[in-house]
């Protein structure tokens, strides 16, 4: 037997990403159009204290969590669909969530079942789309990637059509708030909503990340995964449900923010590892850092006006991705 191959230390990358995440959570809230003084925050004096706690911190945390959820789902769907262009939105879940949210905005609902109506609407919309897409793609008890992609695209168009229909029949004021929501932005939300989202994300991502080797196998093909001993049925159901739940939860709080779910997995793959056991935790943490940073940049560059985080992400990430594609593929 020859010498053992030198093994990289993947845990180091995960630690480094965790440190970046913690640093972002610590420092980003201090940056913004008005300066915040540390003394006043510690003394809990207005206006610095309420601005810091109720706006900046909650907004940073939302960026960290939503960016993480979307990046993790990007990794997951890219592996499951064996398509490097798959995003959390590929299956049409985002359009369903958006339609649900837009419906609640159009009907001027504030709360449903004791929760914010937009939240309930998004989750319900996402669930309806997921069940429809999965149901129409199942054949002989198996889900096929191609059928999922095609029905996802179809459902996506149908939901988008309904959103256009709704925003053209409602009154102008509501139409404006719908358009606003559809742009996607990281805005301050209540700590209660953040807590629910954080718990959900922690639970779902621990389910997803413990199956890293399974996602690696699926990325090489279902027949390949099956004959290496992966439980295809369980992995497929778990993967699509987990990905859809955290995507819908993120969209409910931020609106549809594109690109983070595509660019972060590709960056981490090309710089760190393709192995989902390392890729997924790193993408979760760094995706959060990226979205929260883009949000911070967005409130600094045109201050006091604000640029939506999604737009900043596209302006910075787009050229970088084009450069990466030229260099790597």
């Amino acid at each position: 037997m020859g010498s053992l191959p030198i093994r990289p230390r993947p845990a180091n990358w995960i630690w480094a990403s965790a440190i970046a995440f913690a640093l972002a959570a610590f420092f980003l809230p201090w940056l913004g159009s008005g300066s915040i003084s540390l003394e006043r925050v510690l003394a809990k004096t207005p206006p610095d204290y309420p601005i810091f706690v109720q706006l900046r911190v909650s907004r940073t945390l939302l960026g960290l969590l939503a960016g993480g959820a979307l990046s993790l789902t990007g990794c997951l769907f890219q592996a499951m669909l064996r398509d490097s262009l798959a995003t959390p939105y590929t299956l049409g879940v985002s359009a369903g969530a958006a339609l649900g949210a837009v419906l609640t905005l159009a009907l001027d609902l504030n709360s449903l079942l004791g929760l914010p109506a937009v939240w309930v609407g998004s989750m319900a919309g996402a669930a309806v789309v997921l069940v429809t897409v999965a149901g129409s793609s199942a054949k002989q008890g198996k889900l096929s990637g191609v059928r999922l992609l095609l029905s996802g695209i179809a459902l996506n168009s149908i939901c988008t059509a309904f959103i256009l229909l709704i925003s053209s029949v409602v009154k102008e004021r509501r139409s404006f708030s719908i358009t606003q929501w559809l742009l996607g932005s990281v805005d301050a939300v209540s700590y209660r909503a953040l807590l629910v989202f954080a718990v959900l994300l922690a639970a779902v991502s621990s389910i997803v990340m413990t199956q890293g080797r399974g996602w690696n196998l699926l990325a090489m093909g279902e027949a390949w995964a099956g004959s290496r001993g992966a439980d295809l049925r369980r992995l497929t159901i778990a993967g699509y449900c987990c990905g859809s739940v955290i995507t819908a939860a993120a969209i409910a709080l931020t609106g549809p923010i594109g690109f983070v779910g595509l660019i972060v997995p590709h960056l981490v793959r090309s710089r760190i590892s393709t192995d989902n056991r390392i890729l997924m935790p790193c993408a979760l943490l760094l995706g959060g850092v990226l979205l929260a940073s883009c949000d911070t940049i967005g409130r600094l560059v045109l201050a006091p006006a604000e640029l939506p985080a999604g737009a900043v992400m596209a302006l910075i990430g787009g050229p970088y991705l084009v450069w990466l594609v030229r260099k790597r593929f």
């Binding site: 037997m1 020859g2 053992l4 191959p5 093994r7 993947p10 890219q78 592996a79 064996r82 398509d83 490097s84 413990t210 890293g212 080797r213 690696n216 196998l217 990325a219 090489m220 093909g221 027949a223 390949w224 099956g226 004959s227 290496r228 001993g229 992966a230 439980d231 793959r269 090309s270 393709t274 192995d275 056991r277």
Partner: protein, 255 residues
């Protein structure tokens, strides 16, 4: 441990029409079986059923006197590996990562053990993949990719190995290397079953031939008796004739 496989009365339906009908055979470790038949004869389906990836509509497969369907996916994959056709990926996995995937049924922990790495190393050495183990799988030539996949199947350490057209995309020399490796694995005690369309490769290396015709097992004989029975050739094409090499081995030539 020598494997014992028995397939009895296996049938399979696809979209309502019959693909396999009452296929029965049994086989033991040490055999190198080549499964042949025209396109659509049901070869890949039969291989999938033996691998436990599809459930037969009727009949059953037993491995070591136990029903295949009663094994869990991981238990089954410690005993059977299957090399499917057309395994490709867009994502940048390295050769070593692909080969280590063969250790999935053996490792419970998040990361592979030293033992897993040792098996992967041996398998890469055997399939001559070590020189490019850090390259990306997607950037390799078709022949190199096939060697990597074979190495992953070997690293899995199964007692039954199934190969669906393992020599596609390989140049002539690599086809010979591939089939001599399969014959060697069989000599070491594994039961190897390969699907191929190359008659002379099959005759040169296998110990037994199974011919499927329209979903039925039409012929089942030892490869050394192939010369005495040329009926089976007409099931594959009317333009084939049996001949002999200078050393008296059977050889198929084309009209």
């Amino acid at each position: 441990m020598n494997a014992r496989l028995s397939v009895s009365g296996v049938s399979y339906l696809y979209d309502g029409h019959s693909v396999l009908e009452g296929v029965s055979f049994s086989a033991d470790g040490g055999e190198f079986i080549v499964l042949m038949g025209v396109n659509g004869a049901g070869k890949s389906t039969l291989l999938d059923i033996v691998a436990g990836l599809r459930a037969p509509a009727a009949g059953e497969v037993k491995l070591n006197n136990r029903k295949l369907s009663s094994y869990s996916a991981k238990e089954r994959s410690r005993l059977i590996s299957h090399l499917p056709q057309g395994t490709r990926t867009d994502l940048p996995f390295t050769v070593q990562q692909v080969v280590l995937m063969g250790r999935y049924p053996h490792a419970d922990s998040w990361f592979e053990s030293d033992e897993d790495h040792a098996h992967a190393q041996d398998a890469m050495q055997r399939m001559d993949c070590l020189p490019f183990r850090d390259r990306l799988y997607a950037t390799l030539s078709g022949g190199e990719q096939q060697r990597v996949l074979l190495a992953a199947c070997i690293a899995q350490c199964p007692s039954v190995m199934l190969f669906d057209e393992p020599s596609t995309f390989l140049d002539v020399h690599q086809q010979l290397q591939c089939f001599s490796t399969l014959a060697e694995l069989a000599r070491e005690g594994a039961l190897c079953i390969a699907v191929t369309h190359d008659l002379n490769l099959a005759l040169a290396y296998s110990s037994r031939l199974l011919i499927l015709n329209q979903g039925k097992l039409a012929e089942d004989f030892a490869s050394e008796k192939a010369a005495g029975n040329s009926e089976w050739l007409s099931l594959l094409s009317p333009r084939l004739r049996m001949a002999q090499t200078g050393e008296g081995k059977p050889w198929v030539h084309y009209l």
